[in-house]
């Protein structure tokens, strides 16, 4: 039965949820302000930005010359020369040069996956400290030569004599000289992410107004958070920017309503996705500092939150079974079931706003009886979240979305929110993170405010 693959109703006891392992604590984070592509960071490479984000983190927590257990980060748009991007950034930072590092890439879930992978290593006792992160530049994106030119160049290198070389060169055609620019299109469908989401948005009958409202809230919540100093210990300025350049504190529903649709135009009147309710291409980097309780205590560092658990899912969007960005709709129910939780137990929902339509389609799926029964294997709808708990300090529509940097942005901000919130009904505050990714993937996670274990 196909639905069984996504079944959320089969609880099993996991060592992770049973507290058998050490706890992985979020100490804090640092990111540079996110900049719209072609803006302040046009001349900055991924390595520049990741190094800057690392150095800000090191300065905030006094980690100069510290040997961190492991650093993991990644970029979605990555130059081939950056094969050791994270390690190179570490070498350029104030950390000890003896800090190992590795690159990871899982499209837009990269940042969150680095957090989960490193948290697991901490829980297992392999490392005591870690820095997770991500960076992306759509400004300084790699441009490849065409397949034709690439083949000629490789053959040229192998050719031994002048006549052989000339023969190889003669194969070159003018069209081969056109560069091969990167795009966010799905290789198997040829559709861009926006076009894919436009189909999903229409399928779930998400209104233009509902999408604009998500965008409006994102900008106003993010602006308010900046105003009250929420980001003072989460963001370090870079290249003259001290706030995300995409942020429009004065945007209004009226202004958003004037924008023309940019995706799903073939849908005609049903086209609802505009530049206002879709995230723009963005440059930026983020980092998160993780450690054991003992490691943090020994350095007098804060313990904001605990990484409880994470889950990845993927959907078959190629054959149109589900929308490209709908994987979190399956990952979240599985994750909550494994942890014996429901939406009632979550105090903060951080649902990445790739598009306002993505957030709303996901919520609609969870509220849908049919989807709950046939796709999640439940008795009815999975549940409805309290919108007052959704992206309360803004999300990607306002901040922007440098693909691999988004996970780190959300984890650090949510950890601080959970810490600042204090206990809820006598238990630590709890937050859920949901990030959709290219390739029909999604990664989700639960964070909980740190509380000292009993007996301490």
């Amino acid at each position: 039965m196909p639905a069984a693959a996504h079944s959320a109703s089969a609880p099993h006891e996991s060592p992770v949820t049973q507290g058998t392992f050490r706890r992985a604590v979020v100490v804090g984070g640092n990111r540079i302000p996110f900049a719209r592509t072609g803006g302040a960071y046009t001349k900055s490479s991924n390595q520049d930005m990741l190094t800057a984000a690392l150095d800000g983190l090191i300065a905030r927590f006094g980690l100069q010359e510290e040997r961190i257990g492991e650093v993991a980060a990644g970029a979605v748009l990555k130059h081939s020369r950056d094969f050791n991007l994270t390690r190179e950034a570490v070498l350029g930072s104030a950390l000890s040069a003896e800090t190992p590092a590795y690159d990871l890439q899982q499209a837009c879930a990269t940042g969150l996956e680095t957090v989960l992978g490193l948290a697991n290593k901490i829980k297992l006792g392999q490392i005591d400290s870690a820095i997770a992160g991500g960076v992306d530049s759509a400004s300084d994106a790699p441009i490849a030569v065409s397949e034709g030119l690439r083949e000629v160049l490789l053959d040229l290198n192998r050719a031994k004599s002048l006549p052989e070389r000339l023969k190889v060169l003669s194969r070159l055609r003018p069209k081969d000289l056109a560069p091969d620019a990167p795009n966010t299109g799905e290789p198997r469908t040829g559709l861009s992410m926006g076009e894919h989401q436009a189909l999903t948005t229409a399928q779930w009958k998400i209104s233009r107004e509902a999408q604009d409202e998500i965008a409006f809230n994102s900008h106003h919540n993010l602006a308010a958070a900046y105003e009250r100093g929420f980001f003072d210990d989460l963001v370090t300025p870079y290249r003259g920017l001290s706030r995300d350049s995409n942020l429009r504190p004065d945007t209004s529903m009226e202004k958003l309503a004037t924008l023309k649709p940019v995706f799903g135009k073939s849908l005609g009147a049903e086209a609802t996705m505009t530049a206002g309710n879709s995230t723009p291409l963005t440059d930026g980097a983020s980092t998160v500092l993780l450690g054991t309780e003992e490691w943090a205590d020994a350095r007098g560092l804060p313990k904001l939150a605990v990484v409880v658990d994470g889950e990845a899912a993927a959907v078959d969007f190629v054959h149109g079974k589900d929308g490209l960005l709908m994987a979190p709709a399956f990952a979240v129910p599985r994750l909550l079931a494994r942890n014996g939780l429901s939406f009632e137990d979550i105090d903060f929902f951080e649902i990445h706003e790739a598009f306002a339509g993505t957030v709303l389609s996901t919520l609609a799926a969870w509220e849908d009886e049919e989807f709950g029964r046939t796709r999640l294997g439940l008795d009815g709808a999975f549940g409805k979240i309290d919108r007052a708990k959704l992206n309360v300090n803004g999300s990607s529509l306002a901040a922007g979305h440098p693909f691999a940097a988004t996970g780190g942005r959300i984890v650090a901000s949510l950890a601080k929110m959970l810490h600042d919130n204090g206990p809820v009904d006598g238990r630590p505050a709890r937050g859920l993170i949901s990030i959709c990714a290219a390739g029909g993937q999604g990664v989700v996670a639960i964070l909980e405010a740190y509380s000292a274990p009993e007996g301490r």
Binding site: G56, A59, G62, Q64, V235
Partner: protein, 450 residues
């Protein structure tokens, strides 16, 4: 880095040219470098009367203990590193003649970057007019002598209050500071020692070892120099600046192996957040340097509310609020030390700076009134008033005005941010515990002001 003119006239063709044209010939100052001798030659110690007094004998013995080459009378043609006039026993202006005229011929034998230091008693502590006249005479004498010295030599004085003697820890601390390259841009100034409190550091190159220090406005300029100097002297640092300066702040924090705290010091809870950060991350708080400051210059006739209030808010109101939190906290370590950055503008005034001068005058008043409050817990508070310092801020002054401003002092050059930092580092050390409520000018004896 000394300015380009000073470099040009220091050697070769530039030196000859400046001499022939009668142009100012500023010297390259002798600044502190770890491992270099305290003074560039033997030290001549002269007391009043016949040159030997109890105070001068004790002091000379202490200097021998530091490993200095001490003379009680000058040898012909020997280049001296310093002359110390111990005048604590002077009870009449006529008694100045002995030591002063004995020292006079030796002034020609001073090595470049040499020091003259007087040690005398405060006139305020004398009830007898003749005694007061003798003591106050030292003030005029010293300030004039400072203007006569050349080749980067300076003259400064230590004043002893009732509670201090010639070998009190802070007398020796202040003397050591004035003799050293740390006081390169301090000239014609006095420091008053009022008690026998304090102790000299176990390691003279690490006088702040084990201390936790907070520096506000540390992202650049003088604040960054203060952070570097305190780090060099052994302190653990919390560097503070507004969030918008966070990138520069992070670079400074990483350089000095400290922690960066992005914070608007005018916020209500700034004091608490500073204390919490220092205690949680570094286990305590010993030293706070109030350096953050802004200028919003306008003639008073053109002044608006925004310019006036922002300068008062950042430069003095924030310090008052933070000090209140410090004084009310039970989390500070013993013997807390506060040093504020004032300005010669706050002493002598400056055209276009009524708001700035009011704020910096305010700092001086605040420091004096806070001293007794801190004394209860063995702490001290002082201010340093920089004169013309070569920073990004002064680099924006128009060329001609800047050139005049930087030459109008006895050393004929602007100071460096590090010169201000050295004075602050000294006042933040336990060797300066007997000095409180004072304002030390770091201005190369600027011609304007006190």
């Amino acid at each position: 880095m000394t300015d380009k003119y000073t470099q040009f006239v220091s050697h070769g063709i530039g030196k000859d040219l400046a001499k022939k044209l009668g142009l100012p010939q500023p010297a390259v100052l002798r600044r502190y470098k770890a491992g270099e001798p305290l003074v560039p030659g033997p030290v001549l110690v002269l007391g009043s009367g016949n040159g030997r007094t109890a105070g001068s004998d004790e002091l000379a013995a202490a200097l021998v203990g530091w490993g200095l080459d001490v003379r009680r009378s000058a040898l012909p043609k020997e280049k001296l590193g310093a002359i110390i006039l111990v005048l604590d026993a002077v009870e009449h202006p006529e008694e100045l003649a002995g030591p002063v005229l004995t020292a006079a011929p030796s002034l020609r034998d001073l090595a470049p970057g040499a020091r003259v230091v007087t040690i005398s008693r405060t006139s305020a502590s004398a009830a007898n007019p003749a005694v007061a006249a003798g003591r106050q005479g030292v003030d005029g004498l010293l300030r004039s002598l400072a203007k006569e010295l050349r080749a980067g030599a300076t003259a400064n004085g230590v004043l002893l209050g009732d509670g201090a003697g010639t070998t009190s820890p802070s007398t020796l601390g202040a003397l050591r500071f004035f003799l050293s390259g740390r006081a390169a841009f301090v000239d014609g100034q006095f420091l008053t020692v009022t008690s026998g409190a304090g102790q000299l550091p176990a390691d003279a190159d690490k006088p702040l070892a084990g201390k936790v220090a907070v520096v506000t406005g540390a992202a650049r300029g003088i604040g960054a120099a203060i952070a570097r100097t305190l780090h060099r002297d052994g302190a653990r640092l919390v560097v503070v600046d507004i969030p918008a300066a966070g990138d520069h702040l992070a670079a400074v924090a990483n350089e000095v192996h400290g922690t960066a705290l992005q914070l608007d010091i005018t916020s209500e809870d700034a004091g608490k957040r500073i204390i919490d950060h220092a205690v949680e991350r570094h286990g305590g708080l010993d030293i706070v340097i109030h350096n953050a400051g802004i200028t919003r210059d306008k003639l008073l006739a053109n002044m608006d509310e925004g310019r006036w209030n922002s300068v008062i808010g950042v430069n003095i109101a924030s310090q008052l609020r933070i000090n209140e939190a410090l004084l009310g906290s039970d989390q500070l370590n013993k013997t807390p030390r506060i040093v504020s950055v004032a300005s010669t503008s706050g002493i002598a005034g400056n055209r276009g700076q009524t708001n700035y001068a009011a704020s910096k005058g305010g700092v001086i008043g605040m420091v004096r009134a806070t001293a007794p409050l801190l004394a209860e817990r063995g702490g001290s508070i002082n201010a340093v008033a920089p004169g013309f310092i070569e920073t990004d801020m002064t680099a924006r002054i128009p060329f001609a005005t800047r050139e005049v401003a930087r030459r109008l002092n006895s050393l004929q050059q602007g100071g460096l941010p590090g010169d201000v930092a050295e004075a602050i580092a000294f006042l933040a050390s336990d060797a300066a515990a007997g000095i409180t409520g004072e304002v030390l000018r770091v201005c190369g004896q600027n011609l304007v002001g006190a």
